[in-house]
């Protein structure tokens, strides 16, 4: 069993789990989750085996583990057919991605068991399609009843869908060509749709699912165009064929001033914008919080949005073709830097104004993804990959932690029976530190990692690298924007933690919250370990003190990827001049932001009180709360016109008016023609003719009847005459 074969096997267990659950074990909750978790476990095991083989292998970047099969026999040159091949490839980038994907997926699968209240009784009024609403347990002896959380009615369906999703993500990670990436991408898009709309009886969930799918679809179209363009230029979609074909790719494309590589890079980057929810296609991600929290964690933290950045990393060679460090960056890179930086700041500002615990995290995700993309835009390949990995861990941790908090709050809601209270609103929380200690500590670790608390959190190392990269390559605007975003990140994180956990409980529901089950808290603990330690593999050499002690393993590993330049120089080459400024900045913004956030919110006592910061910001706060009214704007600018186009223009005017009108016209014309034919030709001519035939025959018969006159002499006369005639004929013709 070679490594290559094992690589092929990685996505299979979740696919099998999906098939088995859907076909056979739908009714049996324990069996379903066992199959799903076992599949995730097998994939995890295979992934770890591959990862360890990858990091212990010399020169993986030049000779990645690769295996390909012939798939489509297209593309012929003369008599030789170049079959289109698909295959697997594990190079440093995909090894690292594989690592965090299998870990987070496994943790989320295990978490889901507890999240969906496995082991709890069935709900009183639970319907498939609605979130579980609690079950009443009656204690006969003590004559009391209490309401406890109920088990999710569509339990097995959830595990089936997340298994399919895991399959798609793994396919994407191990593939060696853009086509299978696209395939995995699209399957994930579908699973995202299905899982966001998991509670399909809620109209808001349905709308959110459609919104997510439609918005990412906009990006996907451009991604497909990029794939098509790439194939038509170099005749292959394989990663390894990009750099050798630099000549062809550097030629000017259909857009003057832009090379093919740049054009393809931009097109595929638009797909990334859609999938990773960058501005302007960011609107779907906050609404996607309608799905269950494990979904939010997996899709919107660890995997799907990370797939967008992964793709961005893969198209880095295209985007940077023709660029060497020190030169002005290419068009594609400029676009990435701009959009990334803008999104980072923009989303961070919105996150400050959100009250729903998951929404804050959603905008935080958008912001952090903007970081990674901005990093790629300035050429900091390794930094972006590093942040991708660390972000996956701590964001998954934060989301799972928020799920735990929500569970606790819901428990309080069930206890008090006040169903009008939103268990996800942070203003209703408070003081959960004592009631949910494990959740509190793991969440705090994650939050610190997000804010970039120096040294002890993974987020610090990766964020610092990005800032260093931006500063060192001379892109000051990007640097300042990212620093500001980092400040806001720390601020809203502190806000979130303060409001949720610190202080006193602001509502009685918060008072009655309690810690979640082991199946939920153990994954949190595991992830928090990574949130702390994952950064230590990437300590930059120039860091005072630790830098000399610990080798920068990450940079050595991932930095050996051949990513740019016509000769495929490695990412190592992007050296930046060392300066203490970025380091100082990141320290300042993270600590400062945390402090500010804590100070601003520690006195927030009452649930309905206006936000302290909001009071000071006035109307701008309303803008932030309403997310700059982007949804409304898009509705006005795109959705209503589209609806008009389809309902009025296409349906009424074109379809019913023109097409149906044409058909009706044809029908009427045919009817009239038919009527004409009938009345003029059929009745007059044909009928007359046949009548004539009948009448004529009758009249002829009547006439001929007179031959049978009964007068024998007449018969004789006729016979005699004929005799003479015939006789003459015979005599003269024959005998003469």
């Amino acid at each position: 069993m070679t490594i290559e074969t094992l690589i092929w096997l990685i996505p299979l267990p979740p696919l099998l789990a999906f098939a088995l659950i859907v076909l056979f074990t739908n009714r049996r909750k324990a069996l379903s989750h066992t199959i799903a978790v076992a599949a995730a476990g097998i994939s995890w095991l295979l992934g770890m085996v591959i990862f360890i083989s990858a990091i212990t292998r010399e020169g993986l970047a030049e000779n990645p583990f690769a295996s390909a099969i012939n798939w489509l026999p297209i593309g012929a040159e003369g008599a030789v057919i170049h079959p289109f091949q698909i295959g697997v490839q594990i190079d440093p980038l995909s090894a690292v991605t594989l690592f965090f994907v299998v870990w987070t997926v496994l943790m989320i699968f295990i978490y889901s068991i507890g999240y969906h209240n496995f082991g709890s009784p069935k709900g009183d009024a639970d319907q498939p399609g609605l979130p579980p609403a609690g079950a009443t347990l009656r204690d006969k002896k003590a004559k009391t009843k209490r309401v406890v959380p109920s088990v999710e009615p569509m339990y097995s369906r959830f595990f089936a869908l997340i298994s399919l999703f895991a399959f798609a993500m793994l396919v994407l990670v191990i593939s060696d060509n853009f086509l299978t990436v696209y395939i995995g991408w699209e399957i994930m898009g579908f699973c995202s749709y299905a899982l966001i709309g998991f509670w399909y009886a809620k109209p808001s969930a349905r709308a959110a699912a459609v919104k997510a799918f439609m918005t990412t679809r906009v990006g996907d179209i451009f991604l497909l165009l990029g794939l098509v363009a790439l194939y038509s230029v170099i005749g292959s979609l394989n990663y390894r064929d990009v750099i050798p074909n630099a000549q062809a790719l550097m030629a000017t494309s259909v857009i003057p001033g832009l090379s093919w590589a740049g054009l393809i890079g931009i097109l595929m980057f638009i797909g990334v914008i859609g999938k990773s929810a960058q501005f302007p296609l960011h609107i779907w991600l906050p609404d996607a919080m309608e799905g269950p929290t494990p979904v939010s964690a997996m899709i919107h933290a660890a995997t799907m949005v990370s797939a967008g950045v992964y793709l961005a990393l893969r198209i880095f060679p295209l985007a940077t073709m023709g660029w060497t460090p020190g030169e002005p960056i290419t068009t594609a890179m400029t676009l990435m830097a701009f959009i990334g930086a803008f999104t980072a700041l923009f989303a961070a500002t919105i996150a400050v104004g959100q009250n729903d615990i998951k929404r804050v995290l959603a905008y935080s995700t958008i912001s952090q993804l903007g970081y990674m993309i901005a990093a790629l835009g300035v050429g900091a390949y390794v930094a972006a990959a590093f942040h991708l990995m660390t972000h996956a861990f701590f964001k998954a941790l934060l989301f799972l932690g928020s799920g735990s908090v929500i569970h606790g709050m819901e428990h309080g809601v069930l206890h008090t029976g006040n169903h009008h209270l939103d268990p996800q609103d942070m203003r209703n929380m408070g003081g959960l530190k004592d009631r949910m200690p494990r959740t509190f500590w793991t969440f705090t670790i994650g939050g610190m990692a997000l804010s970039g608390l120096p040294v002890v959190t993974a987020g610090f190392w990766s964020k610092d690298e990005i800032l260093t990269g931006a500063f060192g390559s001379g892109h000051m605007v990007v640097f300042v924007v990212l620093a500001a975003a980092a400040l806001l990140t720390a601020f809203y994180t502190a806000r979130q933690i303060t409001l949720t956990f610190l202080g006193k409980p602001r509502t009685s529901e918060a008072e009655h919250a309690h810690e979640s089950a082991q199946t939920m808290t153990v994954p949190l603990i595991v992830l928090s370990v990574f949130a702390v330690a994952a950064g230590w593999v990437g300590i930059p050499h120039a860091f005072p003190g630790l830098g000399e002690l610990v080798p920068n393993l990450f940079e050595e590993f991932v930095g050996s990827m051949p990513v740019y330049g016509a000769a495929g120089e490695t990412a190592h080459v992007i050296e930046v001049a060392h300066s203490y400024i970025p380091l100082a900045t990141s320290l300042l913004v993270s600590l400062g932001g945390l402090a500010l956030g804590y100070l601003a919110y520690r006195d927030y006592q009452t649930a309905g009180a206006p936000d302290p910061v909001g009071r000071r910001l006035g109307f701008y706060w309303t803008w932030l709360e309403n997310r700059y009214y982007f949804d409304e704007f898009y509705r006005w600018a795109f959705i209503r016109p589209s609806q008009w186009l389809s309902e009025v223009f296409t349906y009424r005017w074109v379809d019913k008016g023109i097409i149906d009108g044409f058909l009706h016209g044809v029908a009427r014309g045919t009817l009239r023609a038919g009527g004409f034919v009938r009345n003029w030709i059929d009745v007059n001519v044909v009928n007359r003719l046949s009548d004539l035939t009948g009448v004529g025959v009758r009249e002829a018969g009547t006439e001929l009847r007179r031959v049978q006159s009964g007068h024998i002499q007449q018969y004789m006369i006729t016979a005699a005459l004929l005799l003479v005639v015939v006789g003459a004929v015979i005599y003269f013709m024959v005998l003469a």
């Binding site: 007449q714 006369i717 005699a720 005459l721 003479v724 006789g727 005599y731």
Partner: protein, 173 residues
């Protein structure tokens, strides 16, 4: 023009004229009488053909029996008004045309025949030959290896006709 030819001509013309009168006489009795005349003319022709036997037979049978029979029939089927009706029916002209055509056709067909203008061969001269011929005819009519059968059949025909006529024309009770 030999005397025989003159006689022939007179007789044929008379016969033909009588025949025409037969078919065009208005009153049936006149027609019957004209028929008798034409039959007699035929008998004379038979004489000119040196078959006196048949001439006599002609007179006896045709004139003596058939013509009388016809007269009887005329008498029996007479009505007053019927002699004032038309003589011929509507197709008379066509009938004339047809008749002429037949005649013309016959004659025309015969003119091509080389024996058409042949002359009469001489019979054996002695008078005893005449009687011998009649005797031979008589012998032929009754001898089984000659013409007995046609003779008998003709007899049967006659009897059949006789019986039939009696039956058909007899009074119904």
């Amino acid at each position: 023009m030999t005397p025989l030819q003159i006689v022939f001509l007179i007789v044929t013309v008379a016969t033909l004229i009588s025949a025409v009168m037969v078919v065009s006489a208005r009153r049936m009795l006149h027609a019957a009488l004209w028929l008798i005349l034409s039959l007699l003319g035929i008998a004379v022709l038979f004489v000119t053909l040196e078959t006196s036997f048949f001439a006599i037979v002609q007179v006896m049978v045709y004139v003596g029996a058939i013509a009388i029979l016809i007269v009887f029939a005329v008498m029996l089927t007479r009505r007053d008004i019927q002699d004032r009706d038309k003589v011929t029916n509507r197709g008379a002209w066509a009938a004339a045309l047809a008749a002429l055509g037949v005649a013309g056709g016959l004659v025309g067909a015969l003119t091509g025949w080389q024996a058409f203008a042949s002359i009469r061969p001489e019979l054996a001269a002695d008078s005893a030959a005449e009687g011998t011929r009649i005797a031979q005819l008589g012998m032929a009519l009754v001898s089984p290896d000659a013409y007995a059968i046609p003779f008998e059949v003709a007899s049967v025909l006659l009897i059949g006709a006789l019986i039939g006529a009696i039956y058909v024309a007899g009074e119904r009770k």
